[in-house]
Amino acid sequence: MNLPCHNDPIAAIIASHQLIPGALLPILHAIQDELRFIPPEAIGPIASALNLSRAEVHGVISFYHYFLTSPPPAHQIHICCAEACQSMGSERLMQHAKSTGDFSVHPVYCLGLCANSPAMMIDDQLHARVTLDKFDRLTEMLGDQS
């Protein structure tokens, strides 16, 4: 068993999670919470701690949309593109977002704000009833912060 090592956050996370049942997702979440992504060098230690092959660990990371394998940009925008938001013009919002400024914009399929569509998320912050004006206002503030 790996001993907790405070210099190495990945080793510390593995050590504190490896004995719980079904530990792989909780470990990956903890690493991403800490480092904002899952670095490739984490795969080997995770695999050996959980007695899995590297391919199995890689397979899990690549299966789930949420896990990132490279550092994300400072700000991330997720625009809901599922049916309810489509009915309120999320496609137009998406086009607008892509054409204005150099944000990292990704689609997301449902934020659970379907009665206040269209919805989006800037980093961890939810926003609903997002008009094009509201989008510009919110992202302008974003520019000021960074």
Partner: protein, 516 residues
């Protein structure tokens, strides 16, 4: 002075935290002592953020309130229910709420979600106390007698599922709550977890007593961080108060509960894919049999139920099976929290007995489309549900009646589209969504969805239309009958219903659609 500002995600996304801060600052400036409670949402989501003030006559609502309204609200003496253009009246008297039958959502929006005191004062843990005084088989019988069916969409009788787990011998059994609410147009699970987490904990604990399980997992999607946060806190509070852990409410029985976070895979809402994910693997669908009730999580007998199914159990135990069964129609007993969403003026949560119609929900509750245009098509039951044309809006909402329409009542999510919607694009989207989210295990879903997008593109671009329509119908038939789970197996519902009911959007006359 007691004030309520929801901390439901929908309210937060519309500035509820900023509003709370502005109210606190203004009260401070005016030297007024106020108590701010962060409640769940009442479900009138077009009015969020909706604040309420407590008066001796009852709670008075104001909404939707922006931070810029705060000074004028104080000037209008809103703390005593003063007149203001945002004043809506007594909350309980508002038409949208008054017409509902709130059983599962009885406390949501009324209590502080993390106040155990509030929970106990509103019939909390009464069902658990009942269950603790009964033998396991009697609990299962009561749930069976209530007629409760799985609220996640499949509508399988909950009591029958529990019975299978109860009679399967094992050294370890599990309760798993499926809170991977990924369907567009659904937010009842989220509202319940954020607005009344203790009822879900109570429901899972009763399930554990009923089948002899000692460990439970709540699998919540990663898109719901606020719900995860609230659930974790609620579990901690319940454990400290002795409602979870080694000695539930002094009974000597053990039940532990843990929240697990999903990772953005829609297919994990399918129960066997969810179990795979909980075990630390890719969310790949398992073959059935064996049923999860016999060989489930970590190979052990497992009750896996949706949030609303489990959260409906406490009231069934507290008030009795007959009380619950009295609501509804046919084989659809009790209530369903309908979620009115998309292009709708008054969207939100409407808990009603089965039997209400889509027209009543969209017009009496919803007030018509948000854009003011004619409503054209309504998708019921999530991305895998059919599109319903106006001729079907008067059918009572009941599982069997919807099956007869070749539609799906599912989770009760309703997404409204106005007459600017193009159903051929929505059909293409259904195939595309399936291609993005397919787990990849079975061919009809993995390959069929990609071919479906291609075929629909050709139809939309008017290339060899007659042959492509035949191909699409054939492909949908293969997906319907050859897929391992509902992902591929139900994607044809939105596709074929769109083609059948809205042939003009595919460049066809009515007769051309008879291929479908």
């Amino acid at each position: 002075m007691k004030l309520f500002v929801p901390s439901d995600s929908a309210a937060l996304a519309l500035g509820a935290n900023e509003l709370t801060a502005a109210i606190a600052a203004e009260a401070d400036r005016r030297h007024i002592d106020i108590t701010l409670v962060r409640n769940g949402s009442r479900g009138m989501l077009w009015l969020e953020p909706m604040l309420e003030v407590s008066t001796p006559e009852g709670r008075i609502a104001y909404g939707p309130v922006e931070t810029t309204d705060v000074v004028s609200l104080f000037d209008a003496d809103f703390l005593h229910g003063g007149a203001h253009h945002l004043r809506l009246g007594f909350t309980e008297e508002l038409d949208f709420l008054k017409k509902q039958e709130r059983l599962t959502f009885a406390r949501v929006g009324i209590t502080d979600p993390l106040s155990l005191e509030d929970y106990l004062a509103h019939e909390g843990f009464v069902g658990l106390q009942q269950a603790l005084s009964m033998p396991a088989a009697a609990i299962v019988q009561q749930v069976t007698d209530s007629g409760l069916r799985g609220r996640g969409g499949a509508a399988f009788p909950t009591g029958i599922k529990w019975q299978t787990v109860l009679k399967t011998q094992a050294d370890q059994k599990y309760i798993v709550c499926n809170a991977d609410e990924g369907d567009s147009g659904t937010f009842a699970d989220r509202m319940l977890m954020e607005g009344d987490p203790f009822v879900l904990i109570e429901g899972m604990t009763i399930a554990a007593l009923a089948v002899g399980a000692t460990m439970g997992y709540l699998y919540v999607r990663s898109e719901y961080p606020h719900a995860i946060h609230i659930l974790n806190k609620a579990i901690e509070i319940a454990r400290e108060a002795g409602y979870l852990g080694r000695d539930i409410a002094g009974s000597g029985k053990t039940f532990e509960l843990e929240v697990r976070k999903g990772a953005g895979a829609y297919v994990c809402g399918e129960e066997t894919a969810l179990l795979e994910s909980l075990e630390g693997r890719r969310g790949i669908v398992r073959s059935k049999p064996p049923l999860p009730a016999i060989t489930g999580l970590f190979g052990k007998p497992t009750v896996i139920n949706n949030v609303i199914s489990l959260a409906s159990v406490p009231i069934i135990m507290a008030r009795g099976a007959a009380f619950y069964k009295d609501y509804g129609m046919g084989r659809s007993r009790g209530t369903l929290p309908f979620q009115l969403a998309g292009n709708i003026k008054q969207g939100g949560l409407i808990e009603k007995a089965f039997g209400i119609t889509l027209r009543e929900l969209m017009f009496d509750f919803g007030g018509g489309s948000m854009t003011g245009r004619a409503i054209k098509a309504v998708q019921v039951g999530g991305p895998l549900g059919a599109y319903l044309p106006e001729s079907q809006w008067d059918t009572p909402m009941d599982y069997e009646a919807y099956t007869a329409l070749w539609a799906v009542l599912g989770h009760g999510g309703i997404v409204v589209h106005d007459d600017t919607a193009n159903l051929s694009h929505l059909a293409r989207y259904a195939m595309k969504f399936c291609a993005i989210e397919s787990c990849g295990k079975c061919t009809p879903c993995r390959i069929g969805s990609t071919r479906g997008v291609e075929v629909l593109d050709k139809i939309i671009n008017d290339q060899d239309k007659t042959a492509q329509l035949e191909l699409l119908t054939d492909l949908c038939d293969t997906m319907l009958h050859g897929s391992m789970c509902a992902m591929g197996g139900m994607t044809p519902y939105p596709v074929l219903s769109a083609l059948k009911h809205f042939p003009q959007d595919f460049g066809l006359t009515d007769t051309g659609a008879q291929h479908a």
